[in-house]
């Protein structure tokens, strides 16, 4: 299978999405997505780690032997996450307080080691970095989507505290969609996370099915009668 930027982009964002297809990183996903901004912050931190680790690992891939590759990769990823954590504590302090324990937990995010092992350690630097970027973007997409769902249903707001993450210019993003909303507490607690994730996964399967179905329809030759849609 030839590697192209196009294929990497499509895989990273949709076909091989970290959460929706590979089903990785579910723990931080569920814990952090009580608001859309938290999801976005976590996603950005994870993407930085993904790109940095992809860059470094693909740079040294010719020197690392199979026997010790896992300890080496984990060491590199842990060092990068620690640096990100220290930087956030120093310069993005409010967001750091909100995300709390989940920044160090990025080390345990299977997606990062997974991409390092299956892509970055086997491919050129430019492809690896792009793959890290696209996987990260796919992850951010899911995080923000689920975060927004849970926040809107659970607290009636959207992008609350956006100014903490993006700076004061983005305060306009903080909206209260339903004023005086009592709040559907379940959505902010863990069960709500599972529910939102379940619906998202089902939605993706449905969408994929529609896409394949419409592709099949286009290529079918209408002279032959026997088979109707098989999918």
């Amino acid at each position: 299978m030839t590697i192209t930027y196009n294929r990497i982009a499509r895989d990273g964002f949709w076909n091989n999405n970290v959460v929706m297809s590979q089903m990785l990183a579910l723990c931080p996903l569920l814990a952090v997505t009580s608001t859309a901004t938290n999801g976005l912050g976590m996603g950005l931190a994870t993407t930085v780690v993904m790109i940095a680790s992809a860059l470094i690992i693909s740079l040294i891939r010719d020197f690392v032997t199979t026997e010790v590759r896992i300890p080496v990769f984990v060491l590199i990823i842990a060092a990068i996450v620690t640096i990100v954590d220290l930087s956030m504590n120093a310069w993005l302090h409010e967001l750091h307080k909100v995300l709390g324990l989940f920044i160090p937990l990025i080390v345990t995010n299977c997606a990062i080691l997974g991409r390092a092992e299956s892509f970055a350690s086997r491919n050129a630097v430019r492809y690896s970095v792009f793959d890290g970027l696209m996987m990260g973007i796919g992850f951010i997409f899911v995080l923000v989507l689920i975060g927004a769902m849970r926040e809107m249903l659970g607290s009636g707001t959207l992008f609350a505290n956006a100014s903490l993450l993006l700076g004061d210019q983005f305060q306009f993003l903080e909206m209260t969609l339903i004023p005086e909303y009592g709040g559907f507490l379940l959505m902010i607690l863990p069960p709500g996370g599972f529910l939102a994730l379940g619906f998202l996964l089902a939605g993706k399967r449905l969408l994929d099915r529609r896409i394949t179905f419409s592709e099949k329809k286009e290529t079918r030759v209408d002279l032959s009668m026997p088979e109707q849609a098989t999918s």
Binding site: R61, D62, F63, V64, T65, T66, E67, V68, R69, P71, V72, L75, I76, A78, A79, T82, I83, L86, S87, N89, A90, W91, H93, K97, S121, R122, N123, G183, L185, I188, L189
Partner: protein, 219 residues
């Protein structure tokens, strides 16, 4: 890896070990650099956090000193509060006269310790309290947070004598404090911790107001 032919020296154990050693050394160096670069800023942020918390329990107009540097560590002897061995008291003063004290007390909540910052004036009357951290149930016990409810402001102006001891309880137990529907243990824990904080202040008041030749202001 991507190279098809691996040179034979790669298979030696020395190479594996050397590689790990080198990676460890490089990562350690990177971490030391990162630590040094961020250490000052992190300490600054922590001071800012503490300042912000203290300002919520002692109104800013009451002091003009650098409250974070005027602090005393008081050991808890026989007056153990949720296992704490020591309390750090920050002293506020205006024009070199003591006006208030802020310190952290711990309560035993439903799901773990509740950290409370307490601010009192020189006579032991509460200037303000804030819950700094807790693990209580969202939607039920978390009304002790100022963001969720004004309940914590009920303590303003109270002292050990007013109200009397029997009234320092939730309404359910015959006291004067509102409880939360479905969460009685949480407010009980906060009330108890605040009261213990006041008792601590009374016990150590002489120590606190007269150290370092600062004269106190009687109110």
């Amino acid at each position: 890896m991507s190279t098809v032919r691996e040179p034979s020296y790669r298979k030696r154990i020395g190479y594996h070990a050397g590689l790990l050693w080198a990676m460890a050394a490089i990562c350690s160096a990177a971490l030391v650099i990162a630590y040094k670069a961020t250490d000052e800023d992190i300490k600054l942020r922590q001071r800012e956090d503490m300042q912000a918390t203290l300002q919520q329990v002692i109104p800013a107009r009451l002091y003009d000193n650098d409250i974070l540097s005027d602090k005393l560590d008081i050991p808890l002897d026989g007056h153990v509060m949720a296992g704490k061995a020591m309390i750090t008291v920050y002293r506020a003063s205006k024009h070199n006269k003591l006006t208030g004290f802020a310190y952290q007390v711990t309560g035993l909540g439903y799901a773990g310790p509740i950290e409370i910052m307490l601010g009192v004036d020189t006579s032991g009357r509460i200037l303000g309290t804030r819950v700094i951290s807790h693990s209580e149930t969202p939607g039920l016990g978390d009304k002790i947070e100022i963001k969720k409810d004004d309940w914590i402001e009920l303590f303003n102006g109270l002292s050990l004598g007013a109200p009397s001891t029997e009234k320092w309880k939730v309404k359910k137990d015959g006291g004067q404090f509102d409880q939360f529907t479905g969460a009685t243990i949480t407010p009980r824990a906060v009330i108890k911790a605040v009261r213990q904080g006041l008792e601590f202040f009374q016990q150590h008041r002489t120590e606190l107001v007269h150290i370092d030749n600062k004269t106190s202001v009687q109110k």
